[in-house]
Every structure is written in structure tokens, then in C-alpha cells.
């Protein structure tokens, strides 16, 4: 956190000053570790084993916050008899289908539920990254559940959890992660001792956690601990994601993502969502509790915002205009399609995949095989000059005179040359004022896309083709101003917020939205940002003149709430759990929820409220159900549906690992998304043969001095000089083993690429003892490329492409490699080197690691023998 989010880290220092104890878990000792009270070096890719150990520690010692757990989580809920655990099936859950490597989630369901309420099978959910829809709400599940609040029923979630994590002992943590037991106990003790009525503990992760083949389950494990300890919905608690781009949260809320529409509405699927009704019902799930009962309203308001007057009840609000997904249309599928010649045109908008995405060579070869490419950026980035300067020029794989891709480089306006909102990592929208005009031809994306749309619509004005109706009927009449005809960002924000069609009055809350076409709203979760016609995101009442919650600085979705699910900061009766942790509570005199924050609950629904037996939607949420966007109103320790790789997290080895999974016969995530494509070669891992060809673990991350793929830092002199060269950090032990010298050169080899770097031998990197072996790890920054003031090989070139099944994010935080002294070869010699490694690892014919390895009982640690 000190490394990549230094200004956020001031609050950790503030907490430290008040006596908080800080633990830092990381494969390498970073600037964060330097200030932490305890640093735990960990083998990359084993966090679930460590956190699973903490879950077991909590349950074994009954250190959970029992009152919170019983009332607010699904610990008491009973699961069907059909459920079978990883304990029973060598690391698989019940319902695994070998044919398509997915789970039928039916056997995971709650007792008494006839089936889980999803209209999409697991394979479709994986292909469409359906897990992302759950960023604002839980997966669909019936609200009525059978419960045993004594937590004794053998099939209640509490007992299932206990059994599932039983083998995550401190010894096992040590064997898997390489973390000595004393260190583990120190962490587990501190975490549990600092949670409860009077105290809360916080879990902070950076989004490297998402870049694993089990990334979603990493975060699930953290959430389980926080729920067990009562650290969710309370001040000083929570699971905090440190996201790495100024508005990456905003670009998920108002998604430039293939599978989502604004507000986490799914992009329609051709088979599952042929009509508006089916689409809406698949989201709302009749009978389900919570605010998603109003999905029709949110959907209709979006369609009205898109197609305005053309969208009417008679034509299902132009639902038919929406394009349909048939499967995976994600960025990595796109790149493989580019290589295969299926894609014609590609826009890059402030993004540099030649350096920033996994498997850089695939990215560059893909771009070299397009009809046209539009790059919009501040600087001439690698993704714009691949035809000139890519490493593949040297190897002859790309030659300018044979590369047909037509490239348009359009300069972009910087953040001070346009106005608009960023949504930062805590869902806070902040409006930026425009300071100066952009230079020369530089323009905002708002300008580019508004005018591109305008030109396209002019071209099609006389078209009679049905396919062009969606463009011609589009509500695309934004006011423009200034010398460049810049569209009004404020007008767009007003449309995002929503308004009453008849009067034009901006909506104050999404509860004012109607499903009859009388209101418009482009992103329901953002409704309120323009309440009263005021740009609430532009509010800047100084922090020093407000409470610590600072509700009048910017605007947070939803409804300006700063802590989600904050009803949980009060006990079931509505009183604060303790004076120290008072945040939101029930004011019995006024009969309303009150507190320091906007209560994340219906304002006047008393704690004693109990829904009628058949109540659904918001009415189905009881007065003591804080998790109002979950189908059963509870925090999920166990996910009966919606998480494709299991109802509970399980440690699987990274797809590329030098060790056999010590916990189960099942080696890697059996449901991971695999691309079998000639360019996507993977290093072998146990139980496959030849994994020793790539004996070392490598991981990559950021440096304070640089930003992502370097497009905004290697181009900036005062940053470039602070970290001027690509380097690799190695331990003294590995340096001795491989003959590397400090400040000398080394190169790393995988079955995709060889990358060179200067060597930093440092005590900050340590070998680890894993399952009786010494495992060496190396670390690299991923900021370097071939353009800018400072250049170097790109670490992301080393990775292959394997994705998490829930959200289709690639595993690019851990892989295996060889490390050799000296510079890498050039030209054909470089190709030959990589091919030779592939040959030695038996991968010249493409063999992908088996999805299921439960029949291989060769694990030295097989507890199940």
C-alpha cells in the first residue's frame, strides 16, 4: 500500500499512531513491509491457504463474533444433503462436469430450495464473466431459508465451513505458503483479538489479488474472515480494494466491459435473454428479497436513456436493439481472434496492452494483424508503435512493409483539459474542473465519441436498414460549447443520474425511478449524484469542516453512503455494538435509522420488522437483515450459487507452479478458463512432467515511481529518473545458485518469452521452505517497454493466458520461469532459445495441463491416500 498507494497509506500511519498493528503479506519485502509491525513473506499464489488457516483458527477456537455471525451471516442456514465437499472428492466439490469443466451448482443450494434461481448454466456464466454482475449485489437465491441458530446442525453453513477448512492447519499453512507457524499464529491472534464489539480489523488488498486463476476466491476468503469476525459494515472494518486507475471503479459501474450494461445490468445473452421480460426476470428473480426486485425499473430507465422518445412500452423500450452475447467476448478472446484474422478494427483508449496485458507478444502480433487501429493517448505508446519498434521486429515476426494494420494516433486531452467525474476506489465520485484547453489536436474521449457518433449518424441518415435503427434512434443530442464543440459533461452526468421525462426534474434517488417510461436514468446506482439539479460530485466542503465521514465531499454511490451495509454497525436491536464503534443506529424516539453516515437501510424500517411469509423484493428484508442486496439478506460465508469455482474457497496451485498441491490431489482450479491456441503455450506443472525446466516462481507488481504500463510515468522526466531501468530482484541465495551479480544482467525464460533485466541482489527477497523444498521467487516491475524516456523489456511478456472463471481476469501475478545470467539473445537466437525451452519441457506439441488431477495420487503430501 505504501508502495502503490502512498497517500492512502497516510491513514495506515494514522492508525499505527493510535496503536493499530499492521501486518504485511507479500512475496517480497516492500516499502509497506518496512513500516509494518510484522512482515510475512509468502509464496506467490497461496493466499487462500494462509487465509484458510485463519478461518480454521477462528472456527476451531470459536473466536467468531457469534451474535453477529448468527444474525447477519448465513452461518445458520442449512444446505441440501446433495452437497459434497472438497474433503470428499480430492479437492473438487459436488456437481463437477468433466465435459466442460464446470460445476452444476444445484447440489450447493440451500435446503428446501428446489433449485437455484439462475437461468444460465455454469458454462454460460463463465463465458460471460457473470460474476461481475455481483459487484453491486449477491447472486440470486430464494429469500426463505431453513436455519439452525444453534449452529449445531451438521449441514448448517457453520459446520460445513468448519469441515471444509479443517485441513488448513498451521502446519499446512507452513507447508503450502512457506510461512513459519509462529508468524502465522502472530497474525491469527492479532486479527481475532482486534475484532469484536469494541474493535474492528481491516483487510486491505491490492488488485494483484484479482490476477489469479482463483482471484475471486482470494477475496471471498478475506470476506469470510471479516464476516466471521464481525468486521463488515462497521467503521474500521471491511475488505478494502486498492484499485490502480483513477476511475477503474467508474469504468466498472458504467462499464466499458463486454458483459455489462451500466449499473451491473447484464448485457443480454442470445439464448437466455431473448425478450425484455426474460432479461428482467433473470435479474430480479421473482420471489427474491432485496433491492434487485426492482430490476425492471433499472433496465427500463437505461433503455429510455439510450433511446429516448423511441423507447416505448409498445416496443419493449427498444430492448431489441441491444446486441447479444453468445459467449466469451473478453479482451483475451479478442486478441486471439486478432491473431486469427477475425477482427478488423480496434480502439485503444488510454490503454497500452503491448506492455500492460499478459502475453505481450500475443498482444503485439494481434495488433499487427488488424485492418485498422485507433490509439488515443497522451503519448506515443508501445501499442501505437508496435509496427516500428516491437521486439518482434528484431525477430522478424513483424516487418513494417508486411504489416497491413492502418494506425491512427489521436492525441488525447489530459485530466486538466476536460471536466468530468472519476469514481475512486471507495465508490466516491469527484468532479474535476477544467483548467486549460487541450493542446493542438488533443481532445477528450467525450469529444471524440460524441462527434464520431454524430458523423456516423449523419452517414446513415437515409439508411433504411433495420440494423441502423439503433444508431438513428439513439438519444444523441448533447449540448456542445467552446471552440472545439466540446459536449457538455454535465449534461451527460445529468442523464446518468436520471430525470423525470415530463418535467426534466433530476431524480434524487433510484427509488424515484418508474418502470413505465416516465423517468430516464443512465445508471441507477449513480442516481442522486445530480439530485436537486446540483452536481453533488463537485461538492468540496473542506474535510477539516466536516466529520470524519466527510459526507459533503464528492458523492458516493449508492445514495452517498460511505460504508456499505452499515446497518451491520448496529446490533440486531438497532443499538451500536459498542460506544467505540458507534456508526449507524436506530433512533427509537424518532423511529428512524440515524448516525454518522447515510444508513444503508430503509430509513423507517424498525429492527423488529419481520416480513410476511411470501414477501419479496425490498419488503422481504427483515429489520435485522443488513445485507439488503443479497437474496436472503445475509452475508455469505457460503455461496450457494454464483461463484463458479465453488461455494467456498479452496487452495489450488497457480496454473504454473513448481509444486504439487500439498492440500488436495486436485492441482489447479478445475474450472479455470483455458485458451487452447498455438500462441498460448503454458509451462508444465505437477503432476505433469518436466516442470523442473521452469524451477523458479516469478511475480510482478508496481513501483511507487511508475504507473502501470509506464505510459504516464516513463514519459515524465522527474519519474523516469527515479526508476530508470528494468530490473529483477533476487535473493542472495538464488544469485549464488545462478551466478548472478548485483547490477549485472539476467534474463528470465518462460515458454512464451525471454526477458532481460538488471539484477538487484537484495536481502529483501528470501527463499521459502515449501513442502520440504526450497522455493526461490523473483520479482519484477511490469512498467517497462520500448518507448519513453526510459525503456526495458516488459515483464508481462513472460505470462501465458489463463483466466479466473468468474470474471475472466488473467493469472498474471504468478508464473514459473528459469533465470539465467547475462543478457538475452537477440533476433532468431531469441526465438530459438524459447523454442528450446518449450522442447525441453515437452511442450512443442501443445499440451495443456489437465483440468482434473484427482486420479493422480502421487502427491507426497496426499492426505487422502
Amino acid at each position: 500500500m505504501a508502495e502503490a498507494h502512498p497517500v492512502g497509506f497516510q491513514w495506515v500511519m494514522e492508525a499505527k499512531r493510535r496503536g493499530a498493528k499492521v501486518f504485511h503479506v507479500d512475496p517480497r519485502f516492500t516499502r509497506t513491509s518496512a513500516l509494518a509491525d510484522s512482515y510475512l513473506p509468502i509464496r506467490a499464489g497461496t493466499d487462500i491457504a494462509l487465509l484458510g488457516g485463519v478461518v480454521r483458527y477462528i472456527l476451531d477456537n470459536e473466536l467468531d463474533f457469534r451474535e453477529y455471525v448468527v444474525a447477519y451471516t448465513n452461518a445458520a442456514t442449512i444446505v441440501t444433503e446433495e452437497y459434497a465437499d472438497t474433503e470428499d472428492i480430492h479437492g473438487l466439490f459436488s456437481g463437477f462436469n468433466d465435459d466442460n469443466a464446470t460445476y452444476d451448482q444445484a447440489s450447493w443450494r440451500y435446503q428446501g430450495h428446489s433449485q437455484n434461481q439462475t437461468t444460465r448454466d455454469s458454462e454460460t456464466q463463465r463465458e460471460t464473466a457473470a460474476g461481475l454482475e455481483n459487484e453491486s449485489h449477491g447472486a440470486p437465491v430464494g429469500g426463505e431459508t431453513e436455519r439452525d441458530e444453534t449452529l449445531q446442525h451438521p449441514r448448517c453453513v457453520y459446520q460445513i465451513l468448519k469441515r471444509h477448512f479443517a485441513r488448513y492447519t498451521p502446519e499446512m499453512v507452513e507447508r503450502v505458503c512457506g510461512i513459519p507457524q509462529e508468524k502465522f499464529f502472530e497474525l491469527a491472534r492479532a486479527w481475532t483479538e482486534n475484532s469484536g464489539r469494541d474493535r474492528t480489523g481491516m483487510l486491505v488488498y491490492s488488485v494483484g489479488w484479482t490476477q489469479h486463476s482463483v482471484g475471486v476466491q482470494y477475496i471471498r476468503t478475506g470476506a469470510i474472515i471479516q464476516l466471521l469476525l464481525g468486521n463488515v459494515g462497521r467503521p474500521g472494518g471491511g475488505v478494502m480494494a486498492l484499485r490502480g486507475h483513477a476511475s477503474i471503479q467508474g469504468s466498472t459501474d458504467i462499464p466499458t466491459l463486454f458483459n455489462l450494461l451500466p449499473g451491473y445490468l447484464p448485457m443480454p445473452h442470445h439464448a437466455n435473454h431473448p425478450t425484455l421480460d426474460e432479461w428482467v426476470d433473470s435479474i430480479a428473480h421473482p420471489g427474491q428479497k432485496g433491492f434487485w426486485g426492482n430490476a425492471r425499473t433499472y433496465g427500463v430507465n437505461l433503455l429510455k436513456a439510450y433511446w429516448g422518445d423511441a423507447a416505448t412500452a409498445d416496443n419493449d423500450y427498444c430492448y431489441g436493439y441491444l446486441p447479444r452475447m453468445t459467449g466469451d467476448h473478453g479482451t483475451y478472446q479478442q486478441v486471439l481472434d486478432m491473431i486469427d484474422g477475425k477482427l478488423k478494427g480496434y480502439f485503444l483508449l488510454g490503454q497500452n496492452p503491448a506492455v500492460g496485458s499478459a502475453h505481450g507478444r500475443a498482444q503485439r502480433l494481434g495488433m499487427a494483424n488488424l485492418d485498422w487501429l485507433v490509439v488515443r493517448d497522451l503519448f506515443m505508446i508501445e501499442s501505437a508503435t508496435f509496427w516500428q519498434n516491437a521486439p518482434e521486429i528484431e525477430t522478424g515476426e513483424i516487418a513494417p512493409e508486411r504489416c497491413r494494420t492502418e494506425v491512427f494516433f489521436l492525441p488525447a486531452a489530459s485530466h486538466v483539459e476536460k471536466e468530468g467525474t472519476f469514481t475512486q476506489t471507495q465508490r466516491l465520485l469527484q468532479w474535476r474542473e477544467k483548467a486549460v484547453e487541450p493542446p493542438g489536436d488533443a481532445r477528450s474521449e467525450l469529444w471524440f465519441f460524441y462527434h464520431l457518433g454524430r458523423v456516423i449518424r449523419e452517414r446513415l441518415a437515409t439508411s433504411t436498414k433495420p440494423r441502423d435503427r439503433a444508431l438513428l434512434d439513439l438519444a444523441w443530442d448533447y449540448p456542445t460549447h467552446g471552440p472545439t464543440d466540446e459536449p457538455s459533461a454535465e449534461a451527460v452526468l445529468r442523464e446518468i443520474n436520471g430525470y423525470d421525462v415530463a418535467t426534466g426534474r433530476p431524480l434524487a434517488s433510484f427509488t424515484e425511478m418508474k418502470d413505465d417510461g416516465s423517468t430516464v436514468g443512465g445508471c441507477w446506482i449513480y442516481t442522486g449524484v445530480y439530485a436537486d439539479g446540483v452536481n453533488q460530485a463537485a461538492r468540496r466542503k473542506p474535510g477539516s469542516e466536516q466529520s470524519l465521514v466527510a459526507p459533503e465531499w464528492g458523492w458516493a454511490w449508492p445514495a452517498n453512503r460511505r460504508i456499505l451495509y452499515n446497518r451491520a454497525s448496529a446490533d440486531p436491536d438497532g443499538n451500536p455494538w459498542s460506544e467505540r464503534k458507534r456508526y449507524v443506529w436506530w433512533d427509537a424516539d424518532k423511529s428512524e435509522w440515524t448516525g454518522y453516515d447515510v444508513p444503508d437501510f430503509e430509513k423507517t424500517k424498525p429492527p423488529s420488522y419481520r416480513p410476511a411469509h411470501d414477501a419479496s423484493g425490498v419488503a422481504g428484508i427483515a429489520g435485522d437483515d443488513p445485507f439488503i442486496l443479497q437474496g436472503d439478506g445475509k452475508g455469505w460465508l457460503y455461496a450457494p450459487t454464483g461463484v463458479l469455482d465453488g461455494p467456498m474457497p479452496t487452495h489450488y496451485e497457480p496454473v504454473e507452479s513448481p509444486v504439487r498441491n500439498p492440500l488436495y490431489r486436485q492441482q489447479a482450479n478445475p474450472t479455470r478458463k483455458v485458451y487452447t491456441h498455438p500462441i498460448n503455450t503454458l509451462n508444465p506443472s505437477p503432476p505433469q512432467e518436466h516442470s523442473q525446466v521452469f524451477p523458479y516462481v516469478f511475480t510482478v507488481s508496481r513501483l511507487t515511481e511508475h504507473h502501470t504500463a509506464g505510459g504516464m510515468s516513463r514519459t515524465v522526466s522527474p519519474l523516469a529518473e527515479l526508476q530508470p531501468e528494468m530490473f529483477v530482484e533476487v535473493s542472495p541465495e538464488l544469485a549464488a545458485l545462478r551466478g548472478l551479480s548485483h547490477l549485472g544482467w539476467a534474463h528470465l525464460v518462460t515458454s512464451r518469452a525471454a526477458v532481460e533485466a538488471k539484477v538487484l541482489v537484495t536481502d529483501r527477497v528470501t527463499p521459502l521452505r515449501v513442502d520440504g523444498r526450497i522455493i526461490h521467487q523473483v520479482w519484477l516491475p511490469y512498467h517497462f517497454g520500448y518507448e519513453g524516456l526510459v525503456t526495458g523489456d516488459s515483464a508481462n511478456d513472460l505470462f501465458g493466458i489463463t483466466l479466473d472463471p468468474n470474471v475472466l481476469i488473467q493469472e498474471s501475478k504468478v508464473g514459473t520461469c528459469d533465470v539465467r545470467p547475462g543478457r538475452r539473445p537477440r533476433g532468431q537466437d531469441l526465438v530459438d532459445l524459447v523454442v528450446d525451452y518449450r522442447r525441453r519441457s515437452g511442450n512443442l506439441v501443445h499440451r495443456y495441463p489437465p483440468m482434473v488431477t484427482t486420479d493422480v495420487a502421487d502427491s507426497s503430501s496426499d492426505q487422502e491416500a
Binding site: P6, S33, A735, H742
Partner: protein, 347 residues
């Protein structure tokens, strides 16, 4: 009349420099115990003061690629890797299968590659011996890189580790030798008690450079003039905080009235001692030290040399009066001798 302590000893420098009713003396207290080594100070300084690039070299001194305070780096963050206990933290590598520490060797290897900072004399961070001290390990004796790192003597595996970071800056001494030797009046004392080079006066003679006991002030190669931290004199004038302190995320760099900062620093040291960090100490805070106390002083977690600071800096003009007296005496003796000789020739 000049103050009795005008060149040495405790002194409030602004009144001594002719300011009537000056504002309180302002300065920096840099608390290295909360520094996260982010280098925001280095960048914020460059952005505000328009300081040019100082080289694109990987120095191998841990994460320090700036190397030293120079004409083109008015803030410099030092990184010191040490196989020593951090005091407050659990030993970082306890229980891990690792060998002896390498930090003395890597620090020395890094030091040998560091580029000429242009600072001469001053403390030479480029010396392997100093680098070995910085690493806090055993005194480094051999040639760096003579054997592959890690093939050491087979000593105990490393368990303790700490990573010290410190943002260094011009000390704005009470007795600033750079100022005292400046023949053009380019270097002057401001009403805030700080020491500033006036770029419209400096003629690049370079006297100040050899005078600085810390090796801070430096000549810019392309324009020949001397440059260093101004403590953002232009910002102070309008009541603003210097750019580095304004940016510092963790309040490691604190700006304020020197008297108040000294109190705050003493309290912080006491607190750290209480929390099991006995090695916490102040540096440059004492008005009785060799430079009359620094306007920019530090809380360190190790000996000053470890951070590349001189342990006992003394203003190089301390002996100026005595020297003048001796020089005067010598001159007079010469004159008398000459006169005698001259007179003596008379028959």
C-alpha cells in the same frame, strides 16, 4: 557590532543578519521513522523549483537512483537495507531458509557504480566503505563482486531486516559556511533564518561548495552556478508550506517554527524509546553543535554515517576569526620584517 557568536555557537540567525523583528525561524523536521521512501518530496521539489533531470542511471543503492544531494536534486531519499532489527517489528525473515545477509556487498557494488555527483568535497556516498557502513553489516573489506553474492562465510542466516529511508535536504545551518564564504553576496540569510542562493547574483565561483560541511551545495554543470534547497523561499513569503513538506504523504517531512519542531521532535524520540526503538535519535537539532544547530534536522534510527551524514559537522568558517588574526599577525610580522630589512639596509 556582530554578535559574539556570529560565526560559532548558539545564535538566532535572522536578527544577526540584520532583520528587525523577523518572523520566527522556520525549518524542517524530517522524521525518518515514518518515511515510506516514496520520493514525493524529490518530485514535488523539482516541479515547484524547476529543477532539471539529474540522470537516468540505475545506481543499485537499493531504491535510491538519485545518489546524493546535487545541484539537480535538492531532496534526496536515501535507502538503507540492513540485517538489523527494526525494533518495533517481528523479525522479517525468522524461520526462512536463508543464508547470510548480502546488503554490505550490494551496497558497495552499488556505490561503485554511482555517478559523479559533482559534490566535492562532502561525504562521498560513492565509497565502498561508506556503503558498507550504510548497509549496517560487517565492515566491508574485499572487492565488491569478487565472489558471487551469497557465497559468504556461511555465517548465520539472516532473520532481522530493516529498510531505512530518509529524505535528506540542505540543513540551513545556523552558521552557514557557504554563506560566509560567498564573495558575491549571492548566498544570503532570509528573514526566516534560512539560507538561499540568489541565482541573479551567483557568479559560479564555487567557494561555497568546498565550504559546506555536509556536501550539499553543488554547481550545475551547464550553467556553472551553485544550486540547493531554498526551503521554498518564494512560498514561505506568502505563508505557504515548502513543496516537499506539502506533498509528503506520511508527515515524515514536517515544516514549521523551528522551536516548535524541536519540541515535537523531542517528544517523538521519547515515544519511540518507549515503544522499543532505543536507537531513535535526533540529528542537527542541537544549537550547541558544530554548526549552531540546523534549520533542517532529523530523527534517525541509526548512526548518521549510515545515512551518509557526517557524524560531527563543524562549520568550516569556525576558525575564521582566529585565522584572520593569525593571518593578520603574519602580515604584520612580514611588514615589520620588511620594514626592518629595508631600514636595516640603511647604512
Amino acid at each position: 557590532m556582530p554578535h559574539a557568536n556570529a560565526l560559532y555557537g548558539p545564535l538566532d540567525p535572522a536578527p544577526d543578519a540584520g532583520y528587525e523583528n523577523p518572523p520566527p525561524r522556520m525549518g524542517f523536521f524530517t522524521d525518518t521513522s515514518v518515511c515510506i521512501g516514496c520520493k514525493a518530496c524529490e518530485v514535488a521539489c523539482k516541479e515547484w523549483n524547476g529543477v532539471p533531470e539529474s540522470g537516468l542511471d540505475l545506481l543499485g543503492m537499493s531504491y535510491d537512483n538519485t545518489g546524493a544531494l546535487t545541484a539537480n536534486s535538492w531532496r534526496h531519499v536515501a535507502f538503507v537495507e540492513q540485517p538489523r532489527s527494526a525494533g518495533w517489528a517481528t523479525p522479517a525473515f525468522a524461520g526462512d531458509p536463508d543464508g547470510p545477509a548480502i546488503s554490505p556487498v550490494t551496497a558497495a557494488a552499488g556505490a561503485r557504480t554511482s555517478t559523479d555527483t559533482g559534490t566535492d568535497p562532502g561525504l562521498d556516498t560513492g565509497s565502498p566503505a561508506v556503503a558498507a557502513r550504510m548497509s549496517g553489516g560487517p565492515e566491508f573489506l574485499g572487492m565488491p563482486g569478487a565472489q558471487p553474492p551469497g557465497r559468504g562465510s556461511g555465517a548465520e542466516g539472516r532473520t532481522d531486516f530493516r529498510w531505512l529511508m530518509m529524505s535528506d535536504v540542505c540543513k540551513h545551518c545556523t552558521h552557514a559556511a557557504c554563506l560566509d564564504v560567498c564573495p558575491t553576496g549571492s548566498l544570503f540569510r532570509t528573514e526566516f533564518g534560512t539560507v538561499v542562493v540568489q541565482e541573479d547574483i551567483c557568479n559560479g565561483c564555487g567557494y561555497c561548495i568546498s565550504a559546506c560541511p555536509y556536501g550539499v551545495i553543488d554547481q550545475r554543470k551547464d550553467d556553472g552556478r551553485a544550486w540547493k534547497c531554498t526551503l521554498c523561499y518564494d512560498r514561505l513569503g506568502v505563508g505557504m508550506t515548502p513543496a516537499c513538506a506539502q506533498a509528503c504523504p506520511t508527515e515524515s517531512i514536517q515544516y514549521g517554527e523551528l522551536d516548535e519542531l524541536r519540541e515535537r521532535a523531542a517528544a517523538r524520540v521519547a515515544k519511540l524509546h518507549e515503544r522499543g526503538v532505543p536507537e531513535a535519535r535526533l540529528y542537527g537539532h542541537d544549537p550547541n553543535d558544530g554548526v549552531g544547530g540546523d534549520g533542517a534536522f532529523f530523527l534517525l534510527l541509526d548512526e548518521p554515517e549510515v545515512y551518509g551524514l557526517p557524524p560531527d559537522p563543524i562549520v568550516t568558517t569556525r576558525d575564521l576569526p582566529a585565522m584572520w588574526r593569525r593571518a593578520g599577525l603574519a602580515a604584520m610580522t612580514m611588514a615589520v620584517a620588511a620594514a626592518v630589512a629595508f631600514l636595516g639596509r640603511r647604512p
